[in-house]
């Protein structure tokens, strides 16, 4: 019998944040998501638009016979639409179901120790921070650690904090 064990999602606060992260760029800023959530990285392919869906749902693609939905993270975070076509889809596992996330480009895999993570500061009511596990600082670079499950299972995110905001703190 083959069963796929799906780890139950822990809340951001009780989750251990140290570990390996895949980092990627979105509108010039670097984000990171836990490598354990990542299934694979694929090139952009023809996306079938699905009518009557929110603007951040780009549509669906055929991933080796499976239909998976593609979420445009720029649109989801309320960022400017990309000027050049995105190149990469990161396929992540959310509640046991694969989903595609459209990003500008993938950067690297980094190990982040618990000591490298800072709590997300509050930015006021307009800026949502629920979707962040924290701020990772490694080798002088700042990355926003995303709680990807939360990002993808919530309807709308008004605005994400930008690294520029963080650095002005």
């Amino acid at each position: 019998m083959t069963t796929t064990a799906i780890p139950t999602p822990a809340t951001a606060s009780e989750r251990r944040r140290a570990g390996k992260y895949l980092t990627f760029f979105l509108a010039g800023e670097e984000y990171a998501l836990e490598i354990l959530a990542v299934n694979e990285i694929i090139g952009v392919q023809p996306i079938t638009r699905v009518p009557r869906t929110p603007p951040y749902v780009r549509g669906v693609i055929n991933l080796r016979g499976k239909v998976i939905s593609i979420v445009d993270l720029r649109a989801k975070f309320g960022l400017e639409p990309a000027t050049v076509a995105e190149t990469v889809i990161i396929v992540v596992q959310v509640h046991g179901v694969p989903m595609g996330v459209l990003v500008d480009r993938v950067s690297e895999v980094v190990s982040i120790a618990e000591g490298d993570v800072e709590e997300t500061p509050s930015f006021g009511a307009d800026v949502e921070t629920d979707y962040l596990l924290g701020i990772g600082k490694v080798n002088g670079r700042v990355r926003l650690l995303l709680d990807i499950e939360r990002v993808l299972s919530t309807q709308d995110i008004c605005q994400m904090p930008s690294i520029a905001d963080l650095q002005s703190e």
Binding site: V50, N62, V94
Partner: protein, 687 residues
């Protein structure tokens, strides 16, 4: 016959003993029960984790069974193993069976040493036996002298008893034992399978199911709950003549005689003369079947579906179409043929006959007849019609609901029927057949039919339609599918709570099927369910709207044509109608509904596709038909909530995803937008 003693590590002797047991268990001279007992013992020995003591006990049990069987006393064979088993599990239960369970604990865990795989297999198998027993019992109601049916029930309980004893499931064993004793008396002619006895036997089946459910839940870690009424039923089984529950109340006679049977509400299923004159006792065809886990089967079918798509992508590849590769094309064409065959075969693996569902209906009709004091007979035809396993599960509830409605609202009371010059016993017919790639299930009754007046009045009271609103017959019948509608005069235990046919329609439409209704006052009502053979593969028409492609299930398409200017009319600037053979139909512009850019907006340069069922037809404006295609329907993936108008996605020949149109929803959307309300209004005034 003597079997050896074995040492714990002596795998060879164990294997030899097991082989011997297996061989003996296949010996034809033994009775079925003895063979089953031995086979169970052999199976248990396969589990290598037993210690020597357990093994020897299994062997001892088995040899006792063999000895007993050789003496020809079958009963003893099973009892030998059952008593052994109960002593082993709970020494206190050593006393005679009924007393041993007088004071059972309500909840108890499964035996700690229970083999879970064996238990699971047992639950599955015992459920099948329960179904068979119930079918046979219902057959017995119409023909109490059917010895085959009595034997089937007896055998079912007998086998369950043996295995349950072996597995240490004492409650099931005790129940099965008592039920078996009851059947034994019927078998020997000491009692008739009618009235109290039939009722007790059926209730035993129900309780057995409840016990099995409890074991099933126990396997998932829940405590094994003792179903209500266990003790009571055991007592009644021990002394059936004094039982006063169930139908015995309505009879007022204990130990009914043959001539009483005619007077009682009877609801036995009988086959139509065309498909056999006698109720057939279900036969187990164990030798030629293999049990496969359904998830593996589903995975297989998924993979084959993907193979079909991969194959068609290969065949349509540019390099192939350019020509010049004759040898290769031939091979690919051959592979394509094999793939299609494989696909057909794999689909057929998941097909199951509707029989099981229909049998449940028979039981329901029987019980409802008793509850409502009506005499109803269920006539079943085409129970061997096969349909996808998932569909069987999905249509069971809607069918039950419709049967419940038919008994409660449709069929009149015996007195009423007599006064109308109808036979006292009402007939509900359920039949299934294949027709053009779909399965048609028809459910009709010979009751009072739909009362148009009453439906209209009721709908006005409920505020569903405006007062003084004249309805056509079709529109009136359509109302019974409206949410919150019920014509039952009293809210009864059976129906009339207003949760009803709207759910049925929704369920059937979710299966990409449809419901039609016909009714004549005083003559009855007929529901026609048209369902796809399988949910996995849809026959679809690929259409183009702008640069986008959609799949419309072929079952919903009535026709397509390019309209002429004169057929079209516009209402209040927005609502569009097309006049087709004297009927005005609302036009839905798919490009507008789905926000597609670059589509043809002039209907006379595009196509109108008439979709829907006979009662709710709508014209869809599409650019072009691209051709027919079988598609494997898949969910759209997470993050996309139910999209109105889209039922799923499918991988097309070029590897891209195409969206499957949910015709029912599109028609509903079209009818609920203000433009089409104008349209219906106009259509009425024109008509």
């Amino acid at each position: 016959m003597r079997l050896m003693q074995v040492e714990p590590g002596d795998m060879e002797s164990i294997a030899r003993a097991r082989e011997a047991l297996e061989q003996i268990s296949m010996h034809a001279s033994l009775s079925a029960a003895a063979r089953e007992t031995l086979a169970a013992a052999a199976l248990a020995m396969r589990d290598a984790t037993h210690d020597a003591e357990t093994l020897n006990r299994i062997i001892a049990d088995a040899s006792r069974a063999i000895e007993a069987a050789m003496r020809g006393t079958l009963e003893d064979a099973v009892r030998a193993t059952s008593v052994q088993a109960s002593e082993r599990r709970s020494p206190s239960n050593r006393a005679s069976l009924p007393h041993a369970v007088r004071q059972p604990q309500r909840d108890e865990p499964l035996p700690a040493d229970a083999d879970r795989t064996l238990l699971r297999d047992f639950v599955t198998e015992a459920r099948e036996f329960a179904d068979e027993a119930q079918a046979a019992l219902l057959a017995l109601e119409s023909d109490p002298d059917d010895a085959d049916a009595v034997n089937t029930v007896f055998r079912a309980f007998h086998t369950i008893k043996g295995t349950a004893a072996f597995l240490g499931l004492d409650r099931i064993k005790v129940l099965a034992h008592h039920a078996e004793s009851l059947l034994e008396r019927i078998r020997k002619g000491a009692a008739q399978c009618a009235g109290v006895h039939a009722d007790l036997a059926l209730r035993s089946v129900d309780l057995l199911r409840a016990l099995l459910d409890a074991v099933d839940a126990g396997l998932d870690g829940a405590p094994v709950r003792l179903p209500d009424g266990y003790d009571v039923l055991l007592e009644q089984l021990a002394a059936p003549e004094t039982a006063t529950a169930g139908r015995a109340l309505s009879d007022g006679v204990a130990g009914p005689r043959r001539d009483d049977a005619r007077e009682m509400p009877s609801a036995a299923a009988r086959e139509m003369p065309s498909s056999g004159s006698r109720p057939r006792t279900p036969e187990r065809d164990a030798k030629n079947t293999v049990r496969v886990r359904t998830d593996r089967l589903d995975r297989l079918i998924d993979l084959v579906g993907e193979l079909v798509i991969a194959q068609s992508m290969l065949a349509q590849d540019e390099a192939m179409r350019a020509g010049g590769h004759h040898g290769l094309s031939r091979i690919i064409a051959h592979a394509g043929k094999l793939t299609r065959e494989l696909h057909d075969l794999s689909m057929s693996l998941r097909m199951v006959p509707l029989k099981g569902t229909f049998l449940k209906l028979a039981r329901q009709v029987r019980d409802l007849g008793q509850k409502t004091g009506k005499q109803v007979e269920l006539v079943v035809d085409g129970a061997e019609t096969e349909i996808d396993r998932h569909m069987v599960d999905a249509i069971a509830d809607p069918l039950m609901h419709m049967v419940r409605n038919a008994v409660d609202h449709g069929i009149e009371s015996p007195a009423e029927r007599e006064a109308l010059g109808k036979p006292r016993t009402g007939v509900i017919r359920v039949s299934a057949s294949h027709a053009g790639g779909s399965v048609v299930v028809e459910l009709s009754d010979d009751g009072r039919g739909l009362d148009r007046e009453r439906i209209t009045r009721k709908a006005m009271d409920a505020g569903l339609i405006a007062p003084d609103h004249a309805l056509t017959e079709r529109e009136a019948f359509e109302l019974i599918f409206a949410p919150g509608f019920s014509t039952a005069q009293a809210v009864t235990d059976v129906s009339g709570r207003g949760v009803g046919l709207d759910v049925v329609r929704r369920n059937i439409e979710a299966l990409r099927g449809r419901v039609d209704i016909e009714s004549a006052p005083g003559q009855g009502t007929r529901f026609l369910l048209r369902l796809p053979l399988t949910l996995a593969v849809t026959d679809g028409m690929l259409i183009r709207v702008g640069a986008e492609r959609y799949i419309v299930p072929t079952a919903h398409i009535q026709m397509s044509f390019r309209p002429e200017r004169g057929m079209l009319s516009t209402v209040v600037g927005r609502g569009e109608l097309v006049m087709l053979r004297g009927e005005l139909l609302p036009v839905v512009r798919l490009h507008r509904l789905f926000g597609v850019e670059g589509a043809v907006t002039d209907p006379t340069a595009a196509l109108l596709m008439i979709v829907g069922d006979s009662q709710r037809r709508t014209a869809l404006l599409v650019d072009e038909l691209l051709g027919q295609q079988q598609v494997v329907a898949k969910p759209l993936g997470s993050g996309i909530d139910a999209v109105p108008g889209i039922s799923g996605g499918a991988i097309l020949g070029d590897g891209r995803v195409g969206l499957i149109l949910d015709v029912g929803a599109v028609v509903t959307i079209a009818r609920h937008t203000p433009t089409t309300e104008h349209a219906t209004h106009v259509s009425r005034s024109v008509a």
